[in-house]
């Protein structure tokens, strides 16, 4: 597989610091990371290792402190603020641990938000969102408010919101963390079935090892670095600079 042309996300020596002087914290310490099109890539590791910061930088929600990150061969950090927002609106979908649904909107309206943000008319956007929700098994809860939905149902709405505008990259942050195992499994199945396409990459941040079997690739992260990558299809395991990164693992 040619990983250069097929990479949706390509990060090299990516660094991110917070604070300055004595309070400066290095969260990302030179991350090399690839997420390929057509694959469900898991980013795993212990709490505080920098997973969420990494996907925030990948999404352009945070600026990096050094290194490079390219999305579809474009370095979005070189974009103007507005262009970055427009790029994100068009190309990225998000699924969050806490769903982040708007409580005043119905399931269909929540799922339609990316389309509304893109200027699609309300009726058309909501109709399209309803069709996605139906695919995700939410056909009978289209007009229900989030407060009346279970955790699994809310996450399905969040998934519909991430899919509705057909982005090329979907970023999921701990999508099963707030769910029981069976519900989490079902959400991951829906994600694998509906989100993974040949022209789309999906990155899932998780530390829920029970759902690892859905992954096409797993990037292990620790202490601000990718310490190991595994690819299910190629049975490939890379351990870059492992001796420096995590001596305890050797």
């Amino acid at each position: 597989m040619n990983t250069t042309t097929a990479a949706a996300v390509r990060a090299r020596e990516l660094r991110k610091d917070f604070g300055e002087g004595p309070t400066r914290i290095e969260v990302l310490r030179g991350v090399d990371f690839d997420a390929l099109l057509g694959q469900l890539t898991f980013l795993v590791g212990p709490s505080g290792c920098g997973k969420t910061t990494l996907i925030s930088v990948i999404a352009g929600l945070l600026d990096s402190s050094g290194g490079e990150v390219e999305l579809f061969d474009q370095n979005i950090e070189r974009f103007s603020a507005t262009d970055r927002i427009l790029f994100r609106r068009k190309n990225l979908g998000f699924v969050y641990q806490q769903y982040n649904l708007l409580p005043a909107l119905t399931a269909a309206e929540n799922a339609a938000v990316p389309l509304l943000a893109a200027g699609v008319r309300r009726r058309a956007a909501v109709d399209l969102a309803k069709s996605v929700l139906v695919k995700l098994g939410m056909g009978n809860r289209l007009d229900t408010l989030p407060s009346k939905l279970s955790g699994g149902q809310q996450q399905r709405v969040a998934l519909a919101r991430a899919l509705v505008h057909e982005p090329r990259l979907i970023l999921c942050d701990e999508p099963t963390a707030a769910l029981d195992h069976a519900t989490g499994e079902s959400v991951m199945e829906l994600l694998a079935e509906n989100a993974v396409h040949s022209d789309r990459a999906v990155i899932v941040v998780t530390h829920d090892s029970r759902v690892f079997h859905h992954a096409d690739a797993i990037a292990h992260m620790d202490d601000g670095r990718i310490v190991k990558t595994e690819s299910r299809h190629e049975n490939e395991i890379k351990i870059p600079e492992l001796e420096d990164a995590v001596p305890a693992l050797i």
Binding site: T52, N100, L102, A104
Partner: protein, 379 residues
């Protein structure tokens, strides 16, 4: 995105209603206090405004307001009549005799003595009888509020007698003039009768009422009268403003109302502003999610301004409605008659509410604009 902004706003029912009622209450308080303030000050010139026949009031040079009269000489009337541009000039007496009913109830009054020949300056609105009957001897027209004060609980009735400074007079009419600043009965009678009621002084003439000739401006004629007679001449409007200015300068009314109005503005700014600000802060995560999805800052500004505009308009409309109902109700009461919701108060309050909501929006916007969309990834 506008409908999302409105749904976010109305979704939190408690805060939404809280915001609306805060703004409505602030609106009510501001409109209420400013209108009452303006209405009370307007009362200081009620008797001037009620004289529509004449355009100019001539008085002693030191007179500052309506209640403060120093008698002119009878020859002053002739001197004024001699000024070029004067169509006619008549005398007006103002005194404060004590009225006493047959039951012994008494009250100080505002007694206006109209020119015997012309009866210039009668009350414009009569409820019973007619002011033409003032030509009858010992007759007076009393205002409704005065009648109710002197004869509480009794029906309006003509022909009743009372004493004005020991002079027996008969009520030949009941009028409804604008409420005076002091809650005294307003009595109209003829000039010659009035000076009798009050008692003889060397001179009695309080004011000379003047009508300019056609084509002569009242302001110009005032200057001419002042130059030729040495007296003070003011147009009706100028004299009313003189009265308002006097009370503003020499009484505690503006301070008292000013404090209330200031408190209303501060409460409005603090409570409405803080509630709206807290509403935004509590929705920061929602704004973060929208921002992460790809909504521009300009769109977010539009959403917040729409929310502020919506609660502002609804709150202001409700408050104005409440103030309208308040004045409508109290306009029926004798002590508060004539106090109306003034359009100037509504406009001023509207501007204040716009200011409050813009201020609250700016505070809220600052939080949203500096918000890092990455906040959505924090559990």
């Amino acid at each position: 995105m506008n409908f999302i902004a409105l749904k976010m706003l109305t979704g939190d029912r408690a805060k939404y209603l809280g915001l609306i009622f805060t703004i409505a209450f602030c609106t009510f308080l501001l409109e209420n206090q400013t209108s009452i303030f303006a209405g009370i000050l307007k009362r200081t010139g009620s008797q001037i405004a009620d004289v529509t026949d004449a355009d100019i009031w001539v008085m002693d040079p030191k007179t500052e307001y309506f209640e403060q009269t120093k008698a002119l000489k009878d020859t002053d009337l002739t001197r004024v009549r001699g000024v070029e541009g004067v169509q006619w000039a008549v005398r007006l007496f103002k005194g404060s005799p004590i009225a006493r009913t047959n039951d012994g109830k008494f009250a100080a009054t505002i007694c206006l003595g109209l020119d015997d020949a012309t009866l210039t300056g009668p009350p414009r609105k009569m409820l019973l009888g007619s002011w033409e009957r003032l030509r009858e001897p010992d007759s007076i027209v009393v205002d409704k509020a005065g009648y109710v004060l002197l004869y509480p609980g009794e029906p309006l009735e003509l022909g009743r007698t009372l004493e004005l400074n020991d002079h027996k007079v008969t009520i030949v009419g009941i009028s409804d003039p604008p409420a005076p600043f002091l809650s005294f009965p307003v009595m109209h009678t003829r000039y010659s009768e009035a000076v009798n009621f009050v008692g003889r002084e060397r001179t009695q003439l309080s004011y000379v009422l003047v009508k300019p000739q056609a084509g002569v401006k009242a302001e110009e004629l005032c200057k001419r009268i002042e130059a030729q007679t040495g007296l003070r001449a003011r147009t009706s409007e100028q004299f009313q403003w003189d009265c308002i200015g006097y009370y503003l300068k020499n009484t505690g009314i503006p301070v008292n109302f000013g404090i209330t109005i200031t408190i209303a503005v501060i409460v409005g700014i603090v409570v409405a502003g803080q509630t709206f600000y807290l509403f935004t802060v509590e929705n920061l995560k929602q704004f973060g999610a929208i921002k992460a999805i790809g909504v521009t800052n300009w769109r977010l500004i539009g959403m917040i301004l729409l929310q502020a505009f919506t609660v502002g308009v609804i709150g202001f409309s409700l408050g104005t409605g409440m103030a309208g109902q308040f004045f409508d109700f109290f306009a029926q009461k004798i002590p508060t008659r004539g106090l109306v919701l003034m359009w100037q108060s509504v406009a001023l309050t509207g501007a204040t509410i716009v200011f409050v909501m813009i201020l609250a929006s700016i505070l809220s916007l600052r939080r949203v604009l500096v918000l890092e969309p990455a906040v959505v990834f924090r559990g």
